[in-house]
Symmetry: C2
Subunit: 253 residues, 2 copies
């Protein structure tokens, strides 16, 4: 594997609830005159999936618990938003620095449970949740798009997230299908012929980060990125998404 090419789909439309996302992506690929080949990876921002799955919540309709009300008061945040963050989380890990860090229902850890109010319509008091089951969404899109394109493609669903120890957000993989999310190099040889002891590489995260460079965070309208040249032929694909580490196995916790 010696080169990679990343292409953003231009003129991608704004997505509305119940839109057929696979069909829209397929049409946009055709309109962009992009040739899709076997093993191409399509990275899709979770936000367009959430919108097509109508994961909007009108904050004015959220029923607020006493606990959420107290926390909202303490953090000087909107109480309905705090309730929504709690609803989307297994548990709250910290509220010390005036942000709510949670373990999301999907297992990963982040701020505000991935609930975001940017890049959504502002006419109502809306918030947008993450897809309910991004792995299922990834699988469905992979099956539909592979069929429409008549190619064996891979899907990564991505989201931009903050992280400990580093400034700024980067794009991460939230789910994937038909691609190995974590590559185990144990037993492979290094430059000097010595066997590697135990390096695992989070390739789905690296692919998501690469795609993030073209997606942008503001008004770019480029939520779908095609990555060409990522050769996976040398390893078996296991479709479990292996990038979320539980507390016991997390060396930093």
């Amino acid at each position: 594997m010696n080169s990679l090419e990343l292409v953003a789909l231009k003129d991608f439309p704004l997505i509305e609830p119940n839109d057929n996302l696979a069909e829209i992506i397929f049409k946009c690929i055709k309109n962009n005159n992009i040739l899709v080949e076997d093993y191409d990876v399509i990275v899709i921002a979770q936000k367009v999936i959430s919108k097509s799955e109508n994961r909007y919540v009108d904050l004015d309709t959220v029923k607020v618990s006493k606990e959420a009300q107290d926390l909202a008061l303490k953090l000087n945040k909107d109480k309905e938003l705090v309730q929504l963050i709690m609803n989307e989380s297994k548990k709250i890990l910290s509220t010390e620095k005036n942000v709510i860090i949670v373990e999301h229902l999907l297992g990963f850890i982040n701020i505000n449970a991935g609930i975001d109010q940017s890049n959504i319509p502002q006419d109502k008091n809306l918030a947008l949740l993450l897809p309910e089951d991004p792995s299922k969404s990834a699988k469905e899109l992979q099956i539909k798009l592979s069929e429409m394109l008549d190619k064996n493609i891979s899907i990564i669903v991505s989201d931009s997230m903050t992280r400990p120890y580093r400034s700024g957000v980067i794009n991460f993989a939230l789910a994937s299908h038909n691609i190995q999310s974590l590559l185990d190099l144990k037993g492979e040889k290094d430059l000097y012929g010595n066997k590697l002891k135990g390096t695992e590489v989070a390739v789905a995260d690296e692919l998501a980060s690469a795609a993030g460079l073209l997606m942008g965070q503001s008004d770019e309208k480029k939520p779908v990125i095609l990555i060409k040249g990522f050769n996976k032929s040398t390893y078996q694909i296991n479709n479990s998404f292996d990038l979320i580490v539980n507390e016991n196995d997390d060396l930093y916790r």
Copy 2:
């Protein structure tokens, strides 16, 4: 910015202490028949910089303190290696999970102070430290290579690191020059014309991650990746490396 191309330099030689790395990279670019243009980004694995700067330490020569000896015994690790990790660190943050998590002298947090024994010669009992001042190395390489190539290029020095909450390693930026490491989007407009409140994007980390896909961790011999198409013309370059967050500003600590 609608597409990106990443190219690994093929047949990159093994680097020895005191090699002229800029010249070797320049020659390799020529041998690969790669056209370098203004604004291209060259991502270089820290390991080849460390080797050219002779950051090898013979573990047999390391003087071991009582503290390092005790910690090595507790963790069942080589006492000279533990001493070296301590020498390279401001402080030890945790040894709870049988790994040594430190704040490195360079400010970032990782396991074993970035000291690695893979991909180095095994004839002596050697370990390889990170470059002493990666920002200085990045600046020197940027100046030399821009002059040799007669192009205005950017440099990122990268390293693969573990991270909290996620499995596997990904490639991060350790230093950069002539590129904005952290991009502040505050005030830019989102899809619906609303101003973004405060998103900062760690573009140098995303570029490093993208390059990591081609570098590999085993015997790939591809420590230098050229990224074409990353358009920085819309923002000012500030050469400070802004990706390391101090404890007070780290929302997760």
